[in-house]
Symmetry: C2
Subunit: 244 residues, 2 copies
DNA sequence: CGCCGACTTGAATTCCTTCAAGTACGGTGG
DNA sequence: CCACCGTACTTGAAGGAATTCAAGTCGGCG
């Protein structure tokens, strides 16, 4: 549980300050948080539903997602998380994880003791604000996903997901221009959007044919951002960034 | 903005203590919160997306929902709320409402100034805990809806929604045994589940034919709770009640 | 080189939607 | 009191979007 590398948690600062300003003292306290670093291979579960957690975790590299599963075994990806995201801040305030956390690529996570987080939240108004807003922005994204899955057709839905993931990567500073890593297989993309992998494939083809994107192995290249946004019915307000 | 009727906010206490205990002082402070009572007719919007809110609101009677709408005008019901529910506690901590609040029946709401809520949250650890958990339970329900809409077929999805609404009404004490008010029209039920009203109708018929429920005008009668739970793939953990 | 996982594409099927027509019911006004 | 009306519910038939099944390609890695 080392607290020595004072730059390691910088991505978290980047993330939090997208929603709420932090003063230098707050930043120092955050950077000094004790943490345990662990690597996870694609497909592994850093946390499982029902686990009683003593830590909460934060993405340093790679991509992880939250999932829940139906009784018949279908998996829904509930959210995806990237560098700087607090994946389960919630668990600092509830005892039991109500979803799985699963690595969708190889990923490095920082585990921070719950009580350290809640102490900090109690101590500093600025951090409290930032953490609140982080959780609320997260909930807002959940709602948008529900709207997406419930009301938009497959083509729009797929485009919407691409817009969101691209924009969030851009905000996290892990995207060069309009070319992004695409973290998900088509299978996973399907689980996130409530579609089958086969249909995802067809929709990506349509988006390619329409000149909006090109896709190579694990990269997505947005050829026409405005066109894609239009096709996706995407408006970024729900992400609650106050600067970009 | 009267603070005189000290029983008016009791449903809120009932709700909060489902997730987190409160000591008597906390309860008194909550009951003493200043509030403005307003009635809303079916279909009206207590709050609209984009509104800058100075209050947050709480259901005293009737049912309201949160909604978001796509660019093409389809409405998704994001959650439904009943007696004792804080509909937009979130707005105490974000400036701008990121969803509409719409009355689905005639409803009475209590509006409480945001700063009164955040003061109370700052002042009392117990209330802070309770409010956190309230918001997190709310987010957990969102996730379950996403799973429901994304992965379950129509029959299961409809059954699941019935289980949740019935159980929550029961927890809120507005349900006699297995007979509940059913707050939604089939149109609204469709908007909540990502289905059409026509298909909701067919699924309700199937559930009737299978002997799980009977439906009269605005009432749903659960004939076989265990059977319905089974058909719905319903497990109540996600509601985060620690007593029932 | 060969294998495996991910991607691609076609054809058949299914679930859900759309369209259409009709019923039931509560409220309003003559 | 009943005729009228609007809204919600009901049911059938046709159509369409997405799934399922199946077969084949591509590319990375042992």
């Amino acid at each position: 549980m080392s607290a020595h590398d004072l730059t390691l948690l910088l991505p978290l600062i980047t993330n939090l300050t997208q929603h709420s300003p932090l003063d230098p003292d707050d930043k120092d306290m955050i950077l000094a948080l004790p943490r345990l670093i662990k690597r996870f291979e694609t497909g592994t579960f850093p946390v499982r539903q029902g686990d009683i957690t003593k830590t909460c975790c934060l993405v340093l590299s790679g991509f992880v997602c939250r999932t829940r599963t139906t009784g018949t075994g279908s998996r829904q990806i509930l959210s995806i998380h990237m560098k700087g995201d607090f994946v389960d801040l919630q668990n600092s305030f509830l005892n039991e994880a109500d979803y799985n956390i699963q690595a969708i690529t190889n990923a490095t996570l920082a585990f921070i003791p719950k009580h350290e987080v809640s102490d900090l939240v109690d101590k500093s108004t600025g951090i409290r604000q930032a953490v609140w807003r982080n959780i609320l922005a997260d909930a807002s994204i959940s709602r948008e996903w529900l709207l997406n899955v419930g009301q938009r057709d497959a083509y729009t839905r797929v485009a919407h997901m691409i817009c969101e993931v691209a924009l969030r990567q851009s905000a996290a500073g892990i995207c060069n221009g309009m070319i992004c890593d695409w973290p998900m297989t088509q299978e996973q993309f399907g689980d996130a959007t409530g579609l089958t992998a086969v249909h995802i494939n067809r929709m990506l083809k349509s988006l390619r044919d329409d000149g909006l994107i090109t896709v190579t192995k694990r990269t997505i290249n947005i050829m026409d951002w405005d066109g894609l946004k239009e096709a996706a019915d995407f408006t970024e307000g729900y992400l609650h960034y106050f600067k970009l």
